[in-house]
């Protein structure tokens, strides 16, 4: 595969007077796992939301497989159909069963036959270990199970890239593992992922690249060992020492 799957070029985003992203550039290769770290409010979530156009950038370009998706002429629904997103608070549709949550986009967006969509969804639920919960409603599931359904709901559309926004932050500690294990398997299968997390151990084991966001810029980036163990910047050191304290 030539060229990055996703490239972010000099993106800027502000909310009124609050400049959240000043100048962010990032390239993600196929199969790469990029982990964004940084303090609360450093713009990690905003960056993910800009990538699938949940937020409109003030300036700069985001390219998906070479196409400028920040162009206002581009159909946002078509862009989002090729990007998977998983949220901190799961955001499953509470009025739909697990299987209906997973088949909604395949049937209504991608126009796949219901029977085939159900078959693929069941395979995907099996993949995340929740086949027996297919008919359950989301509120009957634990947080970890709900988040795995949310991941299956995104994966079933065969996205080019998965955006994972603090996907374990709302989970009980004993449920974090099952979600992180799933993400590690996805990475092993070659899924391209960008994720925000406070799980430094996970970042160390799974990430190809760790980016430290500070003051609306990527202050430091590199292999996990380099950024997490021998950070070059004082601000990165301070952030990491606060975490381990």
């Amino acid at each position: 595969m030539s060229g990055p799957v996703l490239s972010v070029e000099h993106v800027r985003k502000s909310f009124r007077d609050n400049v959240v992203l000043r100048d962010v550039s990032l390239e993600v290769r196929s199969g790469e796992c990029v982990v964004l770290i940084g303090a609360s409010g450093s713009g990690k979530s905003t960056l993910l939301r800009c990538i699938n156009r949940l937020e409109q950038v003030d300036d700069g370009v985001v390219r998906l497989a070479g196409e400028d998706i920040t162009d206002p002429r581009v159909d946002t629904d078509r862009v989002r159909a090729r990007i998977g997103m998983v949220f901190q608070s799961f955001n499953l549709f509470p009025h739909l069963s697990v299987i209906d949550n997973v088949t909604l986009a395949p049937v209504r967006v991608h126009g796949i036959e219901r029977a085939q969509a159900v078959a693929e969804a069941l395979a995907m639920l099996d993949r995340v270990g929740l086949l027996e919960k297919a008919q359950a409603k989301p509120d009957a599931l634990s947080g970890g199970q709900q988040q795995r359904v949310a991941i299956a709901r995104a994966l079933v559309n065969k996205p080019l890239v998965m955006l994972l926004d603090e996907v374990t932050s709302a989970l009980d500690p004993e449920l974090v593992g099952e979600v992180l294990d799933l993400l590690r398997d996805l990475k092993a299968e070659g899924m391209t992922m960008i994720l925000n997390t406070h799980e430094m151990g996970f970042a160390r084991r799974v990430a190809d690249t760790v980016c430290f966001l500070d003051d609306g810029r990527i202050l430091e980036r590199g292999e996990p060992g380099a950024v997490l163990d021998t950070p070059r910047h004082e601000r990165t050191r301070r952030f990491l020492s606060r975490l381990s304290a």
Binding site: D17, V19, R22, G41, S42, G43, G60, P72
Partner: protein, 287 residues
């Protein structure tokens, strides 16, 4: 990001961003133009169809006679003033009764069964009975009892009939609002030591009422029009006044006058509620 003052911000939009902004502006302008042109064409088409119809001259004379409109305006206006007064007084009574019934219906536990049953019966009966029937029953029936102390005025009984009927509807709107507030809000409020009543008063109702404002607005507009039904008890409201004016010479313009006056009353109110809702951030969230 609090340490990112806008004053020191040296950002100048890139040529690309300027081009995108210009495109968005063009796209917006184009949409507005298309919408305006389409509306204009539709209005002109309707107007032409109407005015070119064979019966138009007679129709205009019968429904849009300016002299007749001016002549009938004072009578219709004083009728409308009756509608407005009935509406205002009933609205207050309806709000109080409906809220009480809604709260009674949401009470939990066997102790409150009688109250709950009472509120349920109230809603079932007064929502189920046609308003016209209630008007006749109360307006003609109650004075006929000749009970000492009971008011004799048709206006009172008419207003009461409207209040009973509408409060049953509005109670269900309030109840839907109360039950739409997530249980975690109750848990959070009760955990702070707020009583059931205080939780309702300070946490649940403010959120619930905001959520059902559009539905309440519906009922108020509807009430404004239905307030005219007291005419069956001999009270002269805007429609009845228009009818009287019309019967003088079989010119129907007074009805049109009354219709326009009702619209002048309800449309600004609808815009006001929209504005209120927007200001409270009810239309927030990503689309």
């Amino acid at each position: 990001m609090s340490d990112a003052p806008a004053a020191t911000d040296e950002w100048v939009p890139s040529p690309l961003e300027r081009e995108r902004a210009a495109y968005r502006q063009r796209a917006t302008r184009r949409s507005i133009l298309i919408a305006a042109a389409a509306s204009l064409v539709a209005v002109v088409a309707v107007a032409l169809t109407l005015t070119s119809s064979p019966g138009w001259p007679a129709f205009r004379e019968t429904f849009f006679n300016v002299d007749k409109a001016i002549d009938s305006l004072p009578a219709v206006l004083s009728g409308l003033w009756m509608n407005i007064r009935i509406m205002l007084v009933c609205a207050v009574a309806i709000g109080i009764i409906a809220l009480t019934m809604a709260i009674l219906r949401t009470l939990r536990g066997p102790v409150f069964f009688p109250l709950r049953a009472l509120a349920t019966a109230y809603v079932d009966i007064f929502r189920g009975l046609p308003l016209l029937l209630l008007l006749f029953l109360l307006g003609f029936g109650m004075p006929a009892l000749r009970l000492a102390g009971l008011p004799n005025s048709a206006l009172f009984w008419g207003g009461l009939a409207i209040t009973l009927s509408y409060s049953a509807y509005v109670a269900e709107v309030f109840r839907a609002g109360i039950e739409s507030i997530h249980p975690s809000q109750w848990a959070a409020a009760r955990s702070l030591g707020l009583s059931y009543g205080k939780t309702l008063r300070y946490v649940v109702l403010p959120q619930a009422i905001r959520r059902v404002t559009p539905a309440l607005m519906n009922d108020i507009v509807s009430l404004q029009k239905d307030s005219g039904l007291v005419a069956v008890l001999g009270i002269v409201d805007a429609i009845r006044a228009a009818q009287i004016e019309t019967s003088l010479d079989y010119n129907y313009t007074p009805y049109v006058v009354a219709g326009v006056l009702f619209l002048l009353l309800t449309i600004p109110m609808a815009r006001f509620t929209d504005w209120l809702a927007r200001r409270q951030g009810l239309h927030g969230g990503m689309r």
